[in-house]
């Protein structure tokens, strides 16, 4: 789950990281009031969960409260990469003397949290990694010990920070690590961490990604979810206990298991089709889940054919078949559905489906070719 910039920065601030004075506005009048309270030039920043807000015109300066109102009016309601701006952050404009990158990320290879710093702040770290990797300094934190002072100093000296900033940087780096660890983050970034006009370090932009598996115990953070992060369909799927991702193709897929779902998408592509979605019904799905999954797939008007691929195990083929029959009876199905079902209770499943006369195959590659042909309006 992604957090907005303002949410991320507030979390950093709770751990003692200095952030600019500012607040969130949903109307131009609120933006004006915040700017009046701050009493200095402000920056108006759209809060949408995509990168490239600046380039899209979603971040602008305002010298006066009146200008803040006008600028906020222009940004609120704007469309940035398909997302409508609902909120803006009104922050005191920073006097930037230097920009640093500071980030924490779970390093799966090292099985530790990696803390990275770079003197090249303000740009995407991936870009720095590609062009000047020597400008990134990394330390790995032992999960049972936490981040040590010497590790923060390694980063600070490593990026050539002059010594008057070392104590503040050390505190900020250790705060970032604690914020990361205690929030169950998979990524926490301050970019840029600036040296401001008063020679103080300050986090002017921030980003946190949370580990979805930890959300049940991070209830406060989980409640910060922006419903716009996912499409309405993805939210509906999540609530039904399905793992669904919208794609661009014409063949809707329903599969049990994430690996098999990805493989099914790949085979569709191999045989000349394009998957309309990733959909994993999970292990042990009953008829209800299957019905919910088919409802979601069939609502997508781009879908020209549906491929159901079930390898029964914990998931029983007869349960899935019941769900398919229920879907056919209750939904207005206009596209061909190809079923491939093997494993536990496959015979019972086939019996249940026999009356519906759905095209089916035992071999996966054969089923995929049937679905690709069906989507093109050919029967095979």
């Amino acid at each position: 789950m992604k957090l907005h910039e303002y949410q991320s920065k507030r979390i950093f601030a709770e751990y003692g990281v200095p952030i600019p004075d500012g607040d969130i506005a949903t109307t131009p009048a609120e933006a004006r009031a915040i700017a009046e309270r701050i009493g200095k030039p402000v920056v108006i920043k759209s809060q949408v969960l995509v990168g490239g807000r600046g380039k899209a015109g979603g971040i602008k300066l305002a010298q006066t409260p009146a200008e803040a109102e006008e600028v906020a009016g222009g940004i609120l309601g704007m469309d940035i990469k398909g997302l409508t701006v609902q909120k803006v952050l009104v922050d005191e404009a920073a006097d930037i003397r230097a920009e640093i990158y500071l980030g924490a990320v779970l390093d799966r290879g090292a099985r530790k949290v990696a803390i990275m710093a770079s003197s090249e702040g303000g740009v995407e770290i991936e870009e720095v990694a590609a062009q000047t990797p020597e400008k990134i300094v990394t330390v790995h934190v032992h999960p049972l010990l936490g981040m040590q002072g010497y590790q923060a100093r390694q980063l600070a000296f490593g990026i050539g920070l002059s010594k008057e900033y070392i104590p503040a940087f050390t505190r900020i780096a250790q705060s970032l690590y604690r914020a990361f660890f205690e929030s169950d983050a998979s990524l926490a970034e301050i970019n840029p961490l600036i040296v401001n006009g008063d020679n103080q370090l300050e986090a002017v932009d921030g980003k946190i990604l949370l580990d979805d598996s930890a959300l049940p115990r991070q209830t406060e953070l989980a409640s910060m979810r922006d419903p716009d992060e996912d499409s309405a369909t993805e939210t509906e799927a999540r609530e039904a206990g399905l793992s669904y991702i919208d794609l661009d193709g014409e063949i809707g897929c329903m599969v049990n298991g994430a690996g098999l779902a990805m493989a099914t998408m790949d085979i569709i592509k191999l045989y000349g089709g394009n998957p309309a979605n990733f959909l994993d019904i999970g292990g042990g799905a009953g008829a209800d889940k299957v019905l919910a999954a088919l409802r979601i797939i069939l609502r997508d008007t781009r879908v020209k054919a549906v491929l159901i691929n079930i390898f029964g195990g914990i998931t029983r083929c007869d349960e899935v078949a019941n769900g398919i029959v229920e879907a056919i009876n209750s939904l207005n199905v206009k596209v061909p559905i190809v079923v491939r079902m093997v494993g536990v209770n496959e015979e019972e499943g086939r019996q249940i489906l026999a009356d519906s006369k759905l095209p089916s195959a035992n071999r996966l590659s054969e089923a995929v070719q049937m679905a690709v042909a069906a989507a093109k309006g050919e029967s095979k």
């Binding site: 779970l106 799966r108 290879g109 099985r111 530790k112 949290v113 770290i125 991936e126 990694a129 032992h142 999960p143 049972l144 660890f181 169950d184 998979s186 580990d211 979805d212 598996s213 930890a214 049940p216 115990r217 793992s243 991702i245 794609l247 599969v255 049990n256 298991g257 994430a258 690996g259 098999l260 779902a261 990805m262 493989a263 998408m265 790949d266 085979i267 569709i268 592509k269 191999l270 998957p275 990733f278 994993d280 292990g283 390898f311 029964g312 195990g313 914990i314 093997v342 494993g343 536990v344 071999r363 996966l364 590659s365």
Partner: protein, 289 residues
């Protein structure tokens, strides 16, 4: 021959009285696995799935039954506690089926486990099976057949698909290990490949990977430099979009890293035969028989 589990396996089921634990304990017993005990706090002294004794603690279960392997079916909130208890009681092989364990909990647990003699498989995995001798997992036993192909995979049902195709072609398996789909886990591709390379009962190996991370590349390094047995691979997620987690917590292309293309390239240059779809693995394996 096989790796990790066989006729010597004495299995403890943690969470044996839950619905998943009870069902799969029954299935494993039916397959012929030597299930010696269950552990559920507060249920000590009871019997589960027929005549399996249940103990309050893992220590007690180990002391009484000499269990050497454990499989964990407890909910995510208690799973880390369960696997640390197993390690502390001296269980040599711990298989954690539970999914949705927070990654930082796994980072802490691995750091602890690395200092013990215990080996972890999973979490969020289907377990492992040595066909004909022991099934320590949730896979359907009947699709497997004994033989000499070793399988190591990050996914569950996709592995069944491959095994189904192998068995249909009359190609049996030595051991199939599902290492799980989480970013931080126990055994990895590299560890299992090393075991297969040493195992006299394994003549070739199938590796089933997916997007995310760089474990397949690490495996490719080992295959090209150390491994003599032939390896066949399939990588799922060639059509997956970057930045979207594809079901498994570990299956995400982030910062342009972890794509199927880079994994396939690394494996190919290590001399691994790449299957374009799961059923093709059986055809490629038949060439080595």
């Amino acid at each position: 021959m096989s790796i990790l589990v066989d006729n010597e396996t004495r299995l403890l089921v943690q969470g044996i009285t839950g619905s998943q634990g009870a069902f799969h304990a029954q299935q494993m017993i039916q397959y012929g696995t030597n299930v010696v005990a269950g552990a559920v706090p507060g249920r000590g002294g009871q019997w589960a799935v027929g005549n399996t004794p249940v103990f309050d603690t893992v220590h007690e279960a180990v002391n009484t039954t000499d269990a050497n392997t454990s499989i964990i079916f407890v909910p995510a909130a208690f799973a880390v506690d369960a696997l640390l208890e197993a390690a502390d009681a001296g269980i040599k092989l711990i298989v954690c089926i539970t999914e949705n364990i927070p990654a930082l909990d796994m980072a802490c647990s691995r750091a602890y486990l690395d200092a013990t003699d215990s080996i972890l498989i999973g979490p969020n995995c289907p377990g492992l099976i040595s066909p004909g001798s022991a099934k320590v997992g949730i896979m359907a036993g009947h699709i497997h057949t004994p033989g000499n192909v070793g399988i190591v995979s990050r996914s569950g049902t996709l592995t069944y698909e491959v095994i189904y195709a192998l068995t249909a072609r009359g190609i049996g398996q030595s051991t199939a290990v599902g290492i799980g789909g989480d970013p931080i886990k126990g055994l990895n591709f590299l560890d299992v490949l090393q075991m297969f390379e040493q195992d006299s009962g394994t003549e070739q190996v199938v590796l089933i990977g997916e997007i995310g991370g760089a474990d397949e590349q690490v495996a490719a390094d080992y295959i090209s430099t150390e491994m003599r047995k032939p390896v066949i691979a399939f990588i799922a997620g060639q059509t997956a979009p970057p930045g979207r987690r594809m079901g498994h917590a570990g299956a995400i292309i982030s910062g342009g890293e972890g794509t199927a293309a880079e994994k396939i390239e690394a494996l190919q240059s290590a001399g691994v035969a790449i299957a374009r779809h799961p059923e093709e693995i059986a055809e490629l394996a038949a060439l080595n028989v």
